[in-house]
Amino acid sequence: MAEAYIYDAVRTPRGKGKSNGSLHEITALSLATQVLEAIRDRNNLDTSKVDDVILGCVSPVGEQGSDIARIAVLNAEYAETTAGVQVDRFCASGLEACNIAAAKVMTGEADMAIGGGVEAMSRVPMGSNGGAWSSDPSVAIKTHFTPQGVSADLIATKYGFSRDDVDAYAVESQKRAAQAWAEGRFSRSVVPVKDQMGAIILGHDETVRGNTTMQSLAALNPAFQMMGDMAFDAVIKQRYPEVEKVNHVHHAGNSSGIVDGASAVLIGSKAMGEALGLKPRARIKGFASIGSEPSIMLTGPEFVTAKVLKKLGMDKGDIDLWELNEAFAAVVMRLMQAFDIDHDRMNVNGGAIAMGHPLGATGAMILGTVMDEMERSDKETALITLCVGAGMGTATVIERV
């Protein structure tokens, strides 16, 4: 089987996902188009050699509907022969898109492909696409459907993370993101978003708050207490009777932010890279996805990590850098606890608590982030993973070449 190499990765800065966010005036199509243009232009890419573009998008309705990947390919004026497909694995969609691109390269279906994602959450709100899980009693009742925030609180309760613990994690995430920006650590990947005239409308992640403190977070009320009290604590106790009382610790300050953004990662075979005069930055060693218990929902990273490491014959000690999407503080803390991972190796430049989580785009964004960091700090391997809705996990292991 062919090897899949990463040649480049770009992302937009993340704009606050509200009507007063900087990217609210930019269409989802434009965000996706701009990252495809950037990856083409900075690599002098002959797009006729790009077989497929796979974009993650979690709310594929309205302007994000009907295969936004193909529409963005057309809008970016790629070769007509470049296909496009939109995928949805909830929060891991962007990483799944990269894994699919890599798999296409490995099997020889494609020689060069792009994985990435787009989510304009200020324009197409989360949940716009409905779905059966929460509302069809046939499945909701037997799987104990619970909103993610309550699930994250359950993880904190079950694994012993207090409000102070999760808040401390969030303070550190903000500090790291602010420092990374200050030191220009994201400058290789971030491409500023241009407005309709071509002027830069946003060049930095909009939600970073480096001055966040324990005191400022302490003022925030638990965001999921009410939902828990209304019904979902009772629901989740059906599956976890060991829990006497759910400790609701998560709030807007220690959960991932709602933002707009897009990402793209160029993945291809060694031969095509050489033919196009591209220099590989990393190799995709392997990847995996897994299903996990759906009501606690967000413990998938633990199981998919074990799965992918076993598949690759690797040990946790073989991983230099860990990148786990900061959906909720407790999710990251649980993986660190389960694998005894030092915080110094986990999300070293902060994560979605500080910078936000544009659902379909995040996976490819953090893959680029950790690849940059491997180069900056001269490390060899990294594992990227995300917790996923409905109880799943997706992970990818990369190494420098």
């Binding site: 929460s134 069809d136 009693p137 046939s138 619970t146 106790k237 060991e242």
Partner: protein, 738 residues
């Protein structure tokens, strides 16, 4: 048309009058005959060119229609048909009411219904299929509702579709899922009916509406119809439908297929045109009716409750016994409650205690209840005063003179009970009954104090008396059948449901109920986390976790009983890990339960449990901290099978002799998971026959101890394919009496 259950006539204005009047019944129900005649009526309205429209009403003063005939249900025989063929034949039968009502609704002529009294279940569904509904404003007993869910069924005549389309899902949910019913006034405000009028004017107004609205159509047959409040996957409805399954889980612990299927009908049906929606409803109706939960709940919570409430366990010979005057000895919590229930039922009540102050205090209990009812508008001041006037608090036993019955409710002390028996008995009228309210003391022993032990009987009330609907009647060795009949008549007179048991230690309810808390203690002693025990108990459908129940009973009481029982068996209770633990909690830690404000739980100032007591961890090593589904299933079986096995032993020993008494008693007395239909139904219906239950009990006995081991009687029944209802059910009883 040759009709038996309806009168059909067409008046001079071309309005058909359909009068629902099932012969030989005090109340209309949807009998098989009604179901056969209804399509003929619909055809006549539709096809007769002289008919401009129709008015449907009832010929019964008792009301419009009480719904399906539950006695007739479940008697269908579909054996012999193969899978798909059988399902389709079932559907044809199950869909017939829906088809007929839909034909009525779309007959092209206006149909109005004049609702003169209660319309429940299928009765209300008939009304909802009419185009116009007007109900009596002057009938306080008029109730409109869909109570199917309460007996494990779903409204299968379009109720799950028409009601939410009429008033929105939010307003319809409590009616569909909890069986909440509405008065005429409330129903009008909610939009369930169009208007109200005095009974005498109902038909006339309905007819006027029919003549004025020749082009009547159901709202959902209008092209631009939208479900009020939003359908699933609409912006308005999305959030509501995302909360609904969770709310249902919180309410029901997912133990009731009827409620789940009702919600499925609403979710799936509201996304469909009406004709498809009612097909979906009928499929779920049939699926629900085939569940053991539905069979058990209809039988116990409807048929058996009704039968026992009418005296099914009463010996037939003795003449009816009318209680005009009754005395209660002991004005404590139980005595005060019994006095209130008697007075409320119109019985002259003498409430005796050792001091006038205590007796007055007992009467004050009734005062508090009626005052609350008056303030809530549930009772008029006159009626409240009349109730209170019937209670005479006194210290004077001679005030009992001429009483038809005396119920003693003094402390559980045999000597004290003997003393008050001797003081009260001489004042009873000739042939009067002496009842002892005791939960554990053997009746035969107590009756030794009586000069007339044949008139002495156990009448065991539950606390709080005014809220608990069951009374356990204990027949002593010397109690006569006549006394039993009288006691049952008394219990029915005060509107409680009597069950009859024989005189063994712990009788029936106390003995079986105790096994639930004992199994909880076993689990605790094994190192299972208390939260797991409590959550699994509640989620199994019990009203409280076993540890919370223990707290309510009193841990000191539990310790005392445990020690007594161990001594009787020649062992030392504290050598048992459960005994040692309980001894430590009560004696060393001083935690006697809820009344002490501390037990297995900590309690707030309102007497409600706040958290499980963390200190338990100092004594027991919790080794089981997780409860995945397989373990939850195992613990659930332990808690429920343990109780059921005890019930089977009660049958084997002769403590109880009728499966209806056992089932109704298990639910009403100690809250045995109502979704099962009671302990006997749990054994009969949920394991593919008793053979399956015996196998599971044996497995549990092998894994956890002999307390689960089935007795010989149960094994024999399983081997011969019997059930509790075939051996101890009403048919056997009737056969034995004949």
């Amino acid at each position: 048309m040759n009709l038996e259950t309806f009168n059909y006539s067409v008046d001079a204005d071309g309005v058909a009058h359909v009068v629902f009047d099932v012969p030989g019944r005090s109340m209309n129900t949807l009998t098989a005959k009604v179901m056969a005649e209804l399509p003929q009526i619909v055809a006549a309205i539709r096809d007769d060119a002289n008919v401009k429209g129709a008015v449907i009403t009832s010929g019964k003063a008792s009301g419009f229609c009480a719904g399906a005939d539950l006695g007739e249900m479940g008697s269908r025989d579909t054996s012999g048909m193969s899978g798909d063929e059988r399902l389709k034949a079932e559907f044809e039968r199950g869909f017939s009411l829906n088809r007929t009502l839909r034909e009525l609704e779309t007959c092209g002529k206006p149909v109005a219904v004049a609702i003169n009294g209660l319309a429940l279940g299928g009765g209300l569904e008939v009304c909802l299929a009419a185009h116009y509904r007007i109900a009596a404003s002057d009938n306080p007993r008029l109730q409109l509702g869909l109570p199917e869910a309460k007996v494990g069924l779903l409204p299968g005549g379009g109720g799950t579709q028409r009601l939410p389309r009429l008033i929105g899902v939010m307003a319809a949910a409590p009616m569909l899922l909890q069986g909440q019913s509405q008065t005429a006034e409330k129903a009008k405000a909610m939009g369930i009916i169009h208007d109200t009028a005095p009974t005498a004017e109902l038909v006339e107004k309905a007819k006027a509406w029919v003549l004025a609205n020749p082009n009547a159509k159901a709202p959902w047959d209008e092209p631009k119809f939208r479900v009020p409040g939003g359908a699933p996957h609409t912006p308005a409805g999305a959030q509501l439908f995302s909360m609904a399954p969770a709310m249902l889980t919180k309410e029901t612990n997912n133990n009731y297929p009827a409620q789940e299927n009702i919600l499925k009908c609403v979710y799936e049906g509201l996304q469909m045109p009406f004709d498809a929606a009612i097909r979906i409803e009928s499929r779920y109706f049939l699926k629900t009716a085939a569940t053991p939960q539905s069979k058990g709940m209809i039988r116990t919570l409807f048929l058996s409750m009704q039968a026992l409430g009418k005296g099914a366990s009463r010996p037939v010979g003795p003449a009816p016994f009318e209680v005009k005057k009754a005395a209660v000895l002991g004005a404590g919590l139980m005595g005060a409650g019994i006095a209130y229930e008697q007075a409320r039922a119109g019985i002259e009540t003498v409430l005796v205690d050792v001091s006038q102050e205590s007796a007055e205090k007992g009467k004050a209990y009734s005062q508090r209840i009626v005052d609350k009812d008056v303030s809530r508008g549930k009772l008029t001041r006159e009626k409240a005063d009349a109730i209170l006037a019937r209670i005479t608090p006194t210290t004077d036993y001679s005030a009992i003179a001429g009483a038809d019955i005396v119920v003693e409710a003094v402390y559980e002390d045999p000597d004290l009970k003997a003393r008050v028996t001797r003081m009260a008995e001489p004042h009873l009228r000739e042939g009067g009954v002496f009842g002892s309210n005791t939960s554990t003391l053997p009746i035969t022993g107590l009756s030794a104090a009586s000069d007339k032990p044949e008139n002495y009987i156990g009448i065991h009330f539950f606390s709080p008396v005014e809220r608990m609907g069951l009374v356990e009647i204990i027949v002593g060795d010397k109690t006569s059948q006549e006394t039993l009949a009288k006691a049952i008549d008394y219990v029915i007179a005060i509107r409680k449901t009597p069950i009859v048991v024989n005189d063994f230690r712990g009788f029936y309810t106390s003995r079986c109920f105790g096994t639930y808390t004992q199994e909880g203690m076993e689990m605790l002693a094994e190192g299972i986390a208390p939260a797991i025990i409590e959550n699994v108990g509640r989620q199994a459908g019990m009203p409280m976790g076993p540890l919370e129940v223990s707290d309510s009973v009193g841990l000191d009481t539990a310790l005392k009983i445990g020690k007594q029982m161990a001594r009787a068996n020649g062992t030392e209770y504290t050598n048992d890990p459960k005994g040692a633990l309980l001894d430590w909690v009560v004696e060393a830690q001083g935690r006697a339960g809820r009344k002490a404000g501390k037990g297995f739980y900590d309690y707030g100032s309102d007497g409600k449990p706040t958290r499980l007591w963390q200190g338990l961890g100092d004594k027991i090593e919790v080794t089981v901290n997780e409860c995945p589904p397989e373990m939850k299933k195992e613990l659930t079986h332990r808690l429920l099978v343990r109780q059921a096995i005890e019930v089977s032993r009660c049958f084997e020993e002769g403590v109880i002799t009728d499966a209806r008494d056992a089932d109704v008693g298990s639910i009403l007395a100690w809250g045995f998971a109502p979704w099962t239909g009671g302990c006997c139904s749990y054994m009969d219906l949920f394991w593919g026959g008793l053979r399956g239950f015996v196998a599971e009990a044996d497995r549990l006995a092998d894994a956890h101890g002999e307390r689960f081991r089935p007795g010989q009687m149960l094994r024999d029944m399983a081997a011969s394919g019997e059930t509790f209802y075939s051996r101890f059910g009403p048919d056997m009883k009737a056969a034995a009496a004949a």
